[in-house]
Amino acid sequence: MAEFSKSGDVLVVQLTEPRLDAARAPALKAALTQNVQDKPDRIVVDAQGLDFMDSTGLGVIVSLLKMMGANGKLGIVCGEGSVRKLLKITKLDQIVRPFGTLDDAVSALGR
């Protein structure tokens, strides 16, 4: 479902399945809850391998943002496809910053 690593001071959450929907979202939320306990303030979700996300999956991304510290910054690597469009439709691209590459996201969010 997800792999966790650090790049400098940025926590990288790589989504490892092609779909994040209502059936799969609870498992991801459980993994995030278990691995994001110290309120990190810089997280990048690497969703380059994600072909499909629905509103329940998006709700898990929102929950991740709420797990972060008060000044947390969350980025998502998602190219130009359906995930980015979902962020735009829901206006969450104003809160969760989309990036084209992992390097760009880590560079922008890292200190």
């Binding site: 929907d21 499909f52 509103s55 998006l58 929102v62 709420k66 829901t90």
Partner: protein, 128 residues
């Protein structure tokens, strides 16, 4: 379809096939797949309150003008205020975006609830 969230993969696959037959472009296919999955989720989660012992149908038709999907269920009808939802909830809401997403992703919707049966029609037209 059984009223289970993991059954929505089957709906999504059928929608993708129909979109291919109708010649919808990639963005339109993704839009309709998302709208269909949101509609199916709504039936399972809200219409049947998560019970996996119910069922619903998704009839899909494709043609040169686009693709239509007709969902039919016998669960709790969508409340009028939810049906009219076009505005997204506040950013920190983890749910409640489904109907607004459906409306943003398709060209036409029609919802009816009569004699215990609910139908939701989604229409995605092919761009000229």
């Amino acid at each position: 379809m059984a009223s289970r969230l993991d059954e929505t993969d089957r709906v999504a696959a059928a929608v993708r096939d129909a979109c291919g037959e109708a010649g919808l472009d990639g963005e339109a296919r993704a839009d309709l797949e998302l709208a269909a999955v949101e509609a199916a989720n709504n039936i399972v989660v809200h219409g049947y309150s998560g019970s996996d012992e119910q069922s619903y149908t998704a009839r899909i038709a494709s043609g040169p003008d686009g693709v239509c999907i007709l969902f039919t269920d016998t669960g709790t009808p969508i409340p009028p205020e939810a049906l009219a939802q076009t505005k997204m909830p506040d950013w920190d809401s983890e749910a409640g975006r489904g109907m607004a997403i459906i409306r943003a992703c398709v060209d036409e919707t029609d919802y009816r609830s009569t004699n215990g049966a609910n139908t939701l029609l989604l229409v995605k037209r092919r761009s000229l």
